[in-house]
């Protein structure tokens, strides 16, 4: 549900796309400029220099082939569905690079230019490996990285490292005899480990930042959840109260019901408690309050699982409460103590008092549903008059087979 506290998505740099508007040739430079946040003129100048030197051709063709085209003008998101990640397929990148490079190199060699392939090839491999490795730090993937769904990510990172190491090895061992190669392999591994150690603190910091970011998002979600709940419950009740402000009894009932609901939401464990005596009693009291508009205070010590006996007790409490709110006067209070010697319940009001002697026999409510019900389950029920009011006391023995 939309709420005013819904977490805003984290800002990410614009995706690399080729815009139709503002392009000179294929939109590669314009797209790059938008993606990197650099003036398009600078990008075009660099691209021209690179093109003149040769490698720019490969880069331009690759970018052109791999970047999706969008109809939107720069600075606005494109229509969904036609966007594609730059690094969707690292294998595609490698294949494209190799094909383009081989073609260009073959053409160059044919026309008699010495490209020193021995140097150029390893350099290219290093570049590709680095790109694959670094692509894992792409903003869109960081969350997945942290979420841990990442054997694929790890594989890609590993592949990047291996390709990079291979490139360095090829570059260094170009003219060396086989006997020296092992030394060089060891040296390369040491260098890589050293580089890893240098980068590790940075990596750890990035990871910590991301964790903090996730925690903040969780807090924002919680806040949004709370706002939604308050909106659904409290604000609605307040609106109802304003509309019915003339009827004070109704207002009190609404306020009381809302208070109980909010309390159970804030402090209570929720619906899971309904299988216990305390949960069942709270439910019954809520129903009585809602039906009669008279507040009832519940104090409970100890607890017990629901069974036939406690079920009967809860029903008897409800009947006694109904009598209290109908014939008595507030404050009405319920005290229930559940311990090893059984359950005791006291229901008290402050009314004129109910005399058992003058209750007609046909008053089934009291005789049958309170006293009869408790005795059938091995307990007892009695009522007595207090200075103001009446107090019912109900007792229930411990459950069968209990070790007492």
């Amino acid at each position: 549900m939309p709420t005013p506290y819904a977490a805003a998505p984290a800002a990410a740099p614009p995706r690399l796309v080729r815009p139709l508007a503002g392009r000179q040739v294929a939109g590669v430079c314009a797209g790059l400029a938008e993606h990197l946040g650099v003036p398009v003129r600078v990008i075009r100048l660099i691209m021209l220099v690179l093109l003149a030197m040769g490698p720019g051709v490969v880069a331009y063709v690759l970018l052109w082939a791999l970047t999706p085209e969008v109809e939107a003008t720069l600075g606005k998101p494109g229509a969904p569905g036609e966007q594609r990640s730059l690094f969707d397929g690292p294998m595609l990148v490698i294949a494209g690079a190799v094909v383009a490079f081989v073609g260009v190199a073959w053409l160059a060699q044919r026309s008699g230019v010495d490209l020193r392939l021995g140097v150029l090839l390893p350099l290219l491999v290093i570049a590709v490996g680095t790109v694959i490795g670094l692509s894992q730090l792409d903003a869109a993937r960081r969350t997945r990285w942290l979420a841990g769904s990442g054997w694929q990510t790890a594989a890609r990172l590993g592949l990047g490292v291996i390709v990079t190491a291979g490139g360095i090895l090829a570059l260094v061992t170009r003219d060396a005899p086989i006997s020296q190669t092992w030394d060089i392999i060891v040296a390369v591994i040491v260098v890589l480990i050293g580089a890893g150690l240098l980068v590790a603190p940075w990596g750890v910091r990035v990871l910590a930042e991301l964790r903090a970011e996730q925690a903040a998002r969780a807090r924002a979600d919680e806040r949004a959840d709370m706002a939604a709940h308050l909106h659904d419950s409290v604000l609605q009740t307040l609106a109802l109260i304003q509309r019915q402000s003339g009827d004070s009894a109704r207002v009190a009932t609404l306020a009381r019901a809302q208070e109980r609901e909010l309390r159970s939401w804030l402090y209570g464990g929720g619906a899971a408690e309904a299988s216990n005596l305390s949960g069942a009693l709270a439910e019954v009291i809520g129903e009585v309050e809602a039906a009669h508009g008279i507040p009832v205070d519940l104090v409970m010590t100890g607890d017990r699982e629901m069974d036939d006996g406690t079920q009967a007790l809860v029903r008897a409490v409800r009947e006694a409460l109904a009598n209290a709110v109908r014939h008595g006067r507030p404050p009405v209070s319920v005290y229930v103590e559940a311990g090893p010697t059984g359950v005791e319940a006291f229901i008290r009001d402050h009314g004129p008092g109910l005399d058992m002697e003058v209750i007609p026999e046909d008053r089934l409510g009291v005789r049958e549903s309170i006293i009869g019900r408790m005795t059938r389950h091995g307990g007892a029920a009695s009522s007595r008059r207090l200075d103001p009011g009446t107090e019912w006391s109900l007792t229930l023995p411990p459950p069968q087979g209990a070790t007492t």
Partner: protein, 230 residues
């Protein structure tokens, strides 16, 4: 009762909701204007400590949840007003007033030194009586606080102290008094029920309060530790 109309109980109301402070003031003035004189109010911990140390009231009505201080609400106010005496030369007494049902909140302010705890839904007359009782040095237990006490000391499960001085359990008599308070009985009703005087009831309640503040039962210390009181 030593409080006579000539010397009304001087009260400071500490609560972060202005509407609630205004309501309490109006209600207390209406039902007990001759017995109770509200001399000040404060919306947060730091203002509360300053006002209490300046005006030296008899009783402070203290909300459990307050902004400011070290973030512990009413507990910080109690910590900041240790050994402050009222103008009459008696210690400033605190009565906790809360909407919270959470046991740890209640037990925390009691263990920090409050003389009682009542809920905000209490009627004006009952609140006035509670204020006067606290001013006289007695403890005020709501039915709910009595329920907490019975739970925390294991009294509901049948644990009873062998001797009255034992701090970690309630005596038989204290348990009976607590049970009657939990059932919604006034002090005078408790006295009548147990065939004892009101003064004896007050003695038992004060003794329970002392145990609540000094006991090292793990139910209590766990709460206190949760609130960084230990």
């Amino acid at each position: 009762m030593s409080t006579t109309p000539a010397e009304a109980v001087r009260v400071v109301v500490v609560d972060d909701h202005r509407m609630f402070r205004t309501g309490v003031k109006a209600e207390l003035e209406e039902v007990a204007g001759d017995r109770i004189d509200i001399i000040g109010e404060a919306p947060d911990v730091d203002t509360a400590i300053a006002v209490i140390r300046r005006d030296l009231p008899d009783v402070v009505l203290l909300d459990v949840h307050l902004p400011g201080g070290n973030g512990r609400g009413g507990v910080d106010v109690l910590a900041g007003c240790v050994a402050v005496d009222s103008r009459r030369g008696r210690p400033v007494r605190f009565l906790a007033l809360s909407v919270s049902d959470a046991a740890e909140d209640v037990i925390a302010v009691i263990r920090a030194g409050a003389r009682g705890y009542v809920t905000k839904t209490i009627t004006g007359t009952d609140l006035a009586n509670a204020v006067c009782r606290v001013a006289d040095g007695d403890a005020v237990f709501s039915p709910r606080l009595a329920g907490f006490v019975l739970d925390a000391f294991g009294a509901a499960a049948g644990e009873i102290a062998e001797v009255d001085e034992e701090l970690d359990r309630l005596s038989q008599r204290e348990r009976e008094v607590m049970r009657l308070i939990a059932r919604g009985y006034q002090y005078k009703e408790v006295a009548k029920e147990l065939f004892i005087s009101i003064k004896t009831v007050e003695t038992h309640v004060s003794s329970v309060l002392r145990k609540l503040q000094l006991s090292s039962r793990h139910e209590l210390t766990a709460w206190a530790m949760g609130r960084k009181l230990v």
